[in-house]
Amino acid sequence: MNKVLRFANRRLYFLVLTGMFFLIITALGPGVFGNPSIPFLSWQFDVFHLLCHQDPERSFYIGGSQMAVCSRCIGIYGAFVVGVILMPFWVLIKKVKFRYYFRFLIGTIILNFIDVLGNLFLVWTNTNESRLFLGALFGLSSALILSNEFFKKLNTED
């Protein structure tokens, strides 16, 4: 028995992949373009000002210049792209029912909220790395929940 992948919604998949590529390049901030002087006046910061708090203390830096999104957001976007790229391999390896993907997604949202609230009420102090990791879990779960919509595993007899 051979495992074959059926690729559905192709145009949407490539639209998402292309859009995410540009979004990530922008999210990395002005440092990528060698213009680190005033990050918050850059077009990259304009792009994300409705989506992220852009707090300098909660962001990573490239070439001495703050990224246009915080560490949690870069984790979300980065892991989402990785998830989209890995979708076909994931579907081939493992068939997972929607309800498990959904539970994973809800779990990562709850984890992020607990982390934010714990930090806000001084129960613990999170770090850029911990925010990146939890954001990445959310981004990955958001991509994986869509995987069965783009790729379906078919079993064929030779």
Partner: protein, 187 residues
């Protein structure tokens, strides 16, 4: 398959979700501007040029989820993620336009706010003694020019276009996820 025929319009759900996103993002943005404009110039103020409320993070992309949920629940429908993507895209674009209009309406109510915000930000930068004077003048001129551009008609239209592009795309993603969660058939 009965859903394929005579599908009701998704525009009421799109407009409703877009208005929610536009109002929330505009209120949060104005709140930040008032906070900065009312503060003494300092590096601390400059550092919070972005929003500092962690919960507000990602509010801009819930439009797609809200619109697809509203559409699916209102008519008890199932639809593909492509439709969810389209609903999310329109929601993001309309939210950006409505947000731009709300911002301009507020400028009529309090026309001095952008100026006070710019003054505090520039004042904060002037206090920074880690930057050589020669570079500082050049950067401050750049900041003044940037603030002027933001308040010109071209700058406003550019901001709306940028917001429409990015909100459109991220809500396209959340619209797909919304369609999958609220409007897909059981697997």
């Amino acid at each position: 398959m009965e859903n394929e025929e005579m599908k009701p319009s998704y525009w009421p759900s799109v407009i409703q979700a877009a208005i929610i996103v536009a109002v929330v993002t505009t209120v949060v943005g104005l709140g930040l501007m008032y906070y900065v404009a009312g503060s003494e110039p300092s590096m601390g103020v400059m550092m919070i040029s972005g929003l500092t409320i962690p919960i507000t993070c990602l509010i801009g992309l819930i439009g797609g989820i809200l619109a697809t949920r509203s559409y699916a629940k209102a008519y008890d429908l199932t639809f593909p993620i492509g439709t969810g993507a389209l609903i999310g895209l329109f929601t993001g674009i309309i939210a950006a336009v409505v947000g731009g209009i709300l911002g301009q309406v507020w400028n009529l109510i309090d026309p001095t706010l952008p100026e006070r915000f710019a003054d505090t930000m520039i004042g904060a930068f002037e206090m920074n003694d880690q930057i050589p004077e020669s570079q500082k003048d050049e950067i401050i001129m750049g900041m003044e020019e940037s603030f002027e551009n933001q308040n010109s008609m071209g700058g406003i239209l550019k901001a709306v276009a940028i917001n429409a592009g990015v909100l459109g795309f991220v809500n396209l993603l959340s619209g797909m996820i919304g369609a999958k969660i609220f409007a897909s058939e059981e697997e």
